[in-house]
């Protein structure tokens, strides 16, 4: 007993994690494998991975990224390009197949093994993350937000108008029509996943989340993670203590982006389409709202926030409370209101409980002292001048 209690005190996260994973493993057996709840659960897990990636950039490193949707888009397009019939001319019309088996080998287009697609998505989004981070290096906090937002919008625009950009007669994207169908996941030793059998999808999503969680915890406690926090607290002080700002910032953007890319590639396969309408600014805000709700920089908070908002967005609003406005005599569609609800959540959380549902310890102290990550920098400058 006392041994367990002692272990728990030393590694509370390990125990919480084991509890979560056990719950996660049991969850799918309560529902039918094709149930709506399973659909929601798979999406929620994919969003957890994405939120953890954004949390790394915004929460740990204190860089407000409002264009996170760019990484979702790039991850999804990597999957779309490397795993669909989109490039129908590839391999002279016979298709290009790399490490795939089964009936896919007969299809035209490029078809690459899912695990390789994930690797490609990580590489593409990491590079994109760093490229987007590069111009923001010298900017102050709120300007970073706007520049990342602008990049997110540019990527979104290219996705929408990509059907006009052609290279050798092949368009870049399928615009609003979307690249569809996208290859279903096929893992070594298992059959190709099926659209109506959601349990395998669920376990893959859970595995992604577990890996992302482990990386998050290990990173947070690493030298790099401490450098991020130091930089968030006070950039000038961190730099003078020997934190290389450029490298540290770029690594934050790159790593955070990679998680978004993995999750994006998974979602592309799961949703069976890569559609330009998925990549809008509101998506970035949706993910940001998850982090704020859970608690900036808090890993467990992010997980809870992501699950909560996914359930609200994919289950409660469209299914459970769909008819609520009609019942109280109002005539509108509740799904139209979902982003207003997230906006409201952002305001309420920030004003009433800025540290989030499950606050990170250090951040809670800061908020209640009234000295914050970026305001600290500005204040010293003003004081020094005055």
């Amino acid at each position: 007993m006392s041994v367990v209690a002692e272990r728990f005190n030393r590694h509370p996260n390990l125990f919480i994690a084991l509890g979560f994973i056990a719950l996660g493993l049991m969850f799918p057996f309560f529902f039918d494998s094709g149930a709506g709840q399973m659909q929601t659960a798979v999406q929620a897990l994919a969003y957890v991975a994405m939120a953890l990636g954004l949390n790394l950039i915004v929460g740990f490193a204190g860089l407000l990224d409002l264009g996170y949707v760019a990484f979702y888009a790039l991850g999804a397009y990597t999957m779309g390009w490397l795993g669909s019939g989109f490039f129908s001319e590839a391999g002279g019309g016979d298709g290009l197949h790399i490490l795939v088996s089964g009936q896919i080998t007969a299809l035209p287009g490029v078809h690459v093994n899912f695990l390789l697609v994930i690797v490609a998505a990580v590489i593409v989004t990491t590079i994109a993350g760093m490229l987007i981070g590069l111009p923001t290096l010298r900017l102050r906090g709120d300007y970073i937000a706007i520049v990342t937002l602008a990049f997110g919008e540019i990527v979104g625009r290219i996705a929408i108008n990509g059907d006009e950009i052609t290279v050798n007669g092949t368009p870049l994207t399928a615009g609003r029509q979307g690249i569809t169908p996208v290859d279903k996941i096929k893992l070594p030793g298992l059959d190709q996943f099926q659209a109506l059998d959601l349990r395998p999808w669920y376990f893959v999503a859970l595995a992604i989340v577990v890996v992302v969680l482990i990386v998050n915890f290990r990173l947070r406690d690493s030298r790099l993670g401490r450098a991020w926090v130091a930089m968030r607290e006070d950039e000038v002080a961190a730099a003078s203590m020997g934190v290389p700002l450029v490298k540290t910032k770029l690594l934050a953007y790159g790593t955070g982006a990679a998680f978004g890319g993995v999750s994006g590639a998974f979602l592309a396969s799961f949703l069976n389409t890569v559609n330009a309408d998925q990549f809008q600014f509101s998506f970035s805000i949706f993910i940001l709202a998850m982090i704020i709700l859970g608690g900036l920089a808090s890993i467990w908070g992010t997980v809870v926030g992501a699950i909560a908002l996914s359930i609200i967005n994919f289950y409660l609003i469209p299914e459970v409370f769909k008819n609520a406005p009609q019942k109280i005599g109002l005539n509108f569609d509740l799904t139209e209101l979902s982003f207003g609800i997230f906006g409201f959540l952002l305001v309420i959380m920030m004003v009433l409980r800025p540290e989030g549902l499950i606050p990170e310890r250090r951040r809670k102290i800061e908020l209640h002292e009234g000295v914050g990550p970026t305001s600290g920098v500005g204040k010293t400058v003003v004081e020094a001048k005055g």
């Binding site: 520049v147 540019i154 982003f339 409201f344 004003v351 800025p354 914050g372 500005g378």
Partner: protein, 342 residues
């Protein structure tokens, strides 16, 4: 080495101006080759300036607020959108239709203008009170996040109000009707309205801020809120007043937009907000003249892009300019006037 340094120096000083001139000059040369005159380009620039006048009014709100509390008031674009919606709804209430006579129309539009200005101004003050004031001592990202939140709330109000798709509104002033023809460029009623409302408002605002007592208080608070407080200035009231001014300008812009574009929709504020913010940064944030100049320039770029490259690419081009400005000349064309810039 000397040549590289000289190039760097040149780029630093004139790089942004050169980047801004790329589009008009390139298409000007193309026009001269194809048509032998610059009429099409002049037409683009004229439309650009009229559109830019609207962006300038919205940009003033960004620049005023940023100058005083260093916050990107993300919800500002949506305050502008609400200004449009209020105007359009008022036309219905006042019974303004295409059949209304010129006298009634003038009175009706004036009333609409005033009400839209008051409504947007009040809304902006209210947002400051609810979402920004409690967070004044919080980390700098906190009010930015509530601003984004409010932007979404207002967009949803817009959806509930007039629906989720662009709504055509009656072209009350026949905005495309030509008034005069200046060297092949037709000046329409819409152009005259846009400039005719914007110019006096901008003049009034600048005079007000440089001459009046409360304008002086605003400038003092922008420089140093603590010192201003010590000198007996009520900082909270001054900040509220700044939001009021910004909102009033956005309300006027909302009416002009509805009359000029003859469509309104809930998402217009998001795009307009980003364009206007780009304009404010381009001119030098915190600087009123800069915001107007930036608005006019962005209007021209946007119009050239709409007309030559295709409207679906315009947002991407404007955002690309935003990134270029942020990276190479974050202090803008004229220079910032904020606390940090000194």
């Amino acid at each position: 080495m000397g040549a590289v340094d000289a190039l760097k120096k040149f780029l630093k000083a004139y790089g942004l101006i050169a980047a801004l001139l790329v589009l008009p000059v390139a298409y000007g040369i193309q026009d001269l080759n194809n048509q032998g005159n610059l009429e099409r380009l002049a037409e683009n620039l004229k439309d650009g300036i009229s559109n830019g006048a609207i962006w300038a009014l919205v940009a003033l709100g960004y620049t005023l607020v940023y100058g005083i509390i260093e916050l990107i008031n993300f919800a500002h674009g949506d305050v502008f959108m609400i200004g449009s919606f209020v105007s359009v709804s008022l036309w219905g209430t006042l019974g303004l239709t295409l059949a209304t006579g010129p006298f009634g129309l003038a009175i009706g539009l004036l009333v609409t203008l005033l009400i839209a200005m008051v409504a947007s101004g009040t809304l902006n003050v209210m947002i400051e009170r609810v979402a920004y004031r409690p967070l004044r001592d919080a980390p700098r990202l906190a009010p930015l996040i509530t601003a984004v939140g409010f932007s979404f709330i207002l967009q949803n109000v817009g959806i509930l109000w007039l629906g989720g798709s662009p709504e055509g509104v009656p072209d009350l002033i026949h905005s495309q009707q030509q008034v005069v023809d200046v060297a092949g460029v037709s000046i329409t009623r819409g152009d005259i309205l846009a400039i005719g409302v914007t110019a006096p408002l901008v003049l009034l605002l600048t005079t007000f801020i440089s001459r009046s007592r409360i304008g002086k208080a605003m400038r003092a608070t922008a420089q140093d809120p603590e010192a201003a407080r010590l000198m007996g200035i009520n900082v909270d009231t001054t900040i509220s007043f700044t939001f009021l001014m910004g909102g009033v300008m956005a309300g006027a812009a909302g009416l002009i937009y509805a009359l000029y574009q003859t469509t309104v929709w809930f998402f217009q504020g998001f795009t307009a907000g980003l364009i206007a913010f780009t304009a404010a940064v381009m001119g030098g944030i915190g600087n009123l003249k800069g915001a107007v100049l930036g608005g006019l320039i962005i209007g021209c770029i946007q119009q050239i892009s709409d007309n030559r490259i295709g409207g679906e690419w315009t947002p991407a081009i404007v955002f690309a300019y935003l990134v270029v400005i942020m990276v190479f000349r974050p202090q803008g064309l004229i220079g910032e006037e904020t606390r940090e810039a000194g």
